[in-house]
Amino acid sequence: MHVVVCIKQVPDSAQIRVHPVTNTIMRQGVPTIINPFDLFSLEEALRLKDQLGAKVTVLTMGPKMADQALRKALTFGADEAILLTDRAFAGSDTLATSLAISSAIAKIGETQPIDIVFCGKQTIDGDTAQVGPGIATRLGLQQLTYVAKIVSIDQTAREIVVHRRAEGGVQVLKTSLPCLITMMEDTNHIRFGTMADAFRAARSPITEWTAVDAGVPDISKGGLRGSPTVVKKVFAPTARTAKAIAISGDTPEALANSVLDTVFAAHPSLQGDLQSSIATNSQGASS
């Protein structure tokens, strides 16, 4: 069994700062991490390695420095790492990104056929959740997003059963391999890699592929030129035109009373709404 895990190196968004005057992102000194959502998929892949002896190949697309994310994935126990890096990919939106990555996956599959492709549910920098399904669509893989649990894999019948999170419930789906899976968050915990893996990761070469190496069929459909979406404007939100009304008081109690006076005066129906809501709630609780 061969599984490919697509990961992305992202800025640790909790630490992103916006320059207060120029409204640009201050990237300097912002640490990068493996997109946290990808780790749930990576751990699931490593469990298939433990249980079924699967080979785990990790793949990323990005600048040269993205090799750090791959090396980190190797320390967790991944077997092989491929970095897709080419200036031609610069400015890719999700459609162009899925073209590049799916081409590379097809190329990886030429050496050893792939049974499962894993992606993160979404990234924390783009938050689109679009690249995984884009890859599945381009490669004709059965698409299993928001997977809460892999229930079983039958390697002989080449079938997999999963729980997929839907609105208001969970679907139990059975499909054939190969498939693409995006794991839900909090479905597992990424392991601590072994010392052996850490040493191996430090020595392992990371394969670098250009667009040509990855076999991207038409480079004009990649990168900025191959991206149908155009970012026209990046901006900071403006404050509401009406400024917030400041409420203060000498003591917390005086302040609280002042808040209620002010808010109930400005929103006359609010007090009644609250009271009827409380009445409904207590009825519900007693019934």
Partner: protein, 357 residues
């Protein structure tokens, strides 16, 4: 209402497709006989875009045959749709990526809409991504604002970017349809207009069950429906990192109890394990539209702001007078939330019970 769209001959060039693409479509998300309310919110928003462009709004419904479909179409008309494309087939009984993608793609290539909006639900995101890739067009996720740029006759889709620290506006200029997903509760629910009607155009799916690889073995309904409560709650009290320590979150819960409100929190509280992800309010959590929102110790980064801006009344408590939350709150209380929350709880308790008696 104008004539329903008729199939257009396939244009070979980009410009032909741009010129031939007309109308705003809203995907009507029906799951297990029930239409997700985000569909009506999007018809309301789609109506504004369509009026600007001078075109019609069409709902798109893929579902198994059943009486619920006519009712859903009538609901779509009442919320502002001019017509509904209805694709009925037993294959569509449960959501599966492949048949839904095939069906929606067939409708798009046949009738050529210029704009297609879907709810950013697990279903909508899964389907939108597959369809946008299939028809090779632009898709903008989790939009918080939609507008029309009349110079280019294109949709300006605004969404948070860089982990929610800035906003960006995205256009799809050379491909159609221009696709966007919008999270539930981001757009206001349009009022129902009873008696409004429209046309239903049936379109066959044209697939056989044998051709579909993925099978649905079972569906396990959630027992816990807390998530829906937060999104549709009229009153919400939430806490953030400014509460200092996890024990202090009880102060938020105490106030919520007195108000009959739902509790929520900002992203750092979820990351810190104080509350579950289903209680997170903001871009990567829930969007709320309550009558009253009280935010205690939340700084108000954009990613939080976009989740609460639809609230009628926002009271913010923060010890930092420069916290961004005061840029969009209606009432600003500068001070220690752990001291002010108990006083507010007591004041609300007294005031609300005094009036009731």
């Amino acid at each position: 209402m104008s004539q329903p769209a008729t199939p257009n001959p396939a244009g070979s060039k980009e410009d032909d497709l741009l010129a031939a693409s007309k109308g705003v479509w809203v995907y009507l998300e029906m799951d297990r006989g029930h239409v997700h309310p985000v569909s009506w919110e999007l018809i309301g928003e789609g109506r504004k875009l369509a009026d600007k462009l001078g075109v019609d709004v069409w709902g798109v419904l893929l579902a198994p045959p059943g009486a619920a479909n006519q009712a859903a179409a009538n609901d779509a008309f009442a919320h502002g749709a001019d017509g509904v494309y209805l694709m009925e087939d037993p294959i569509l009984a449960d959501y599966r990526t492949a048949p839904y993608t095939t069906g929606l793609t067939k409708l798009i290539t046949t009738y050529k809409p210029e704009i297609l909006l879907l709810g950013a639900t697990t279903l909508g995101r899964d389907l939108a991504s597959a369809v946008a890739t299939t028809v090779a067009t632009g898709l903008t996720a989790d939009c918080t604002g939609l507008a029309i740029d009349m110079d280019t006759r294109s949709m300006a889709a605004t969404r948070p970017t860089f982990g929610g620290s800035l906003l960006c506006t995205i256009h799809t200029l050379k491909a159609r349809p221009q696709m966007a997903t919008i999270r539930p509760r981001v757009m206001a629910m349009p009022p129902r207009q009873e008696g409004r009607s429209g046309q239903i155009v049936p379109v066959p799916l044209g697939m056989r069950e044998d051709d579909i690889i993925t099978k649905v073995l079972d569906y396990i309904a959630d027992r816990n429906t807390n998530e829906a409560h937060l999104e549709f709650a009229d009153f919400v009290v939430a806490g953030g990192r400014g509460l200092g320590k996890v024990e202090n979150f009880k102060l938020v819960e105490d106030l919520a109890k007195v108000l009959g409100a739902e509790v929520g929190g900002s992203r750092p509280l979820v990351q810190g394990g104080w509350i579950g992800h289903d209680r997170q309010i903001g871009q990567t959590g829930k969007t709320i539209r309550p009558k009253l929102y009280i935010a205690a110790g939340i700084s108000g980064a954009i990613q939080h702001r976009v989740g609460v801006e639809g609230a009628d009344c926002i009271i913010a408590i923060n010890s930092d007078p420069n916290a961004p939350i005061f840029d969009f709150a209606h009432y600003a209380i500068v001070g220690d939330a752990t001291k002010i929350l108990p006083a507010l709880t007591e004041a609300f308790r007294r005031r609300l019970s005094a009036q009731a008696n």
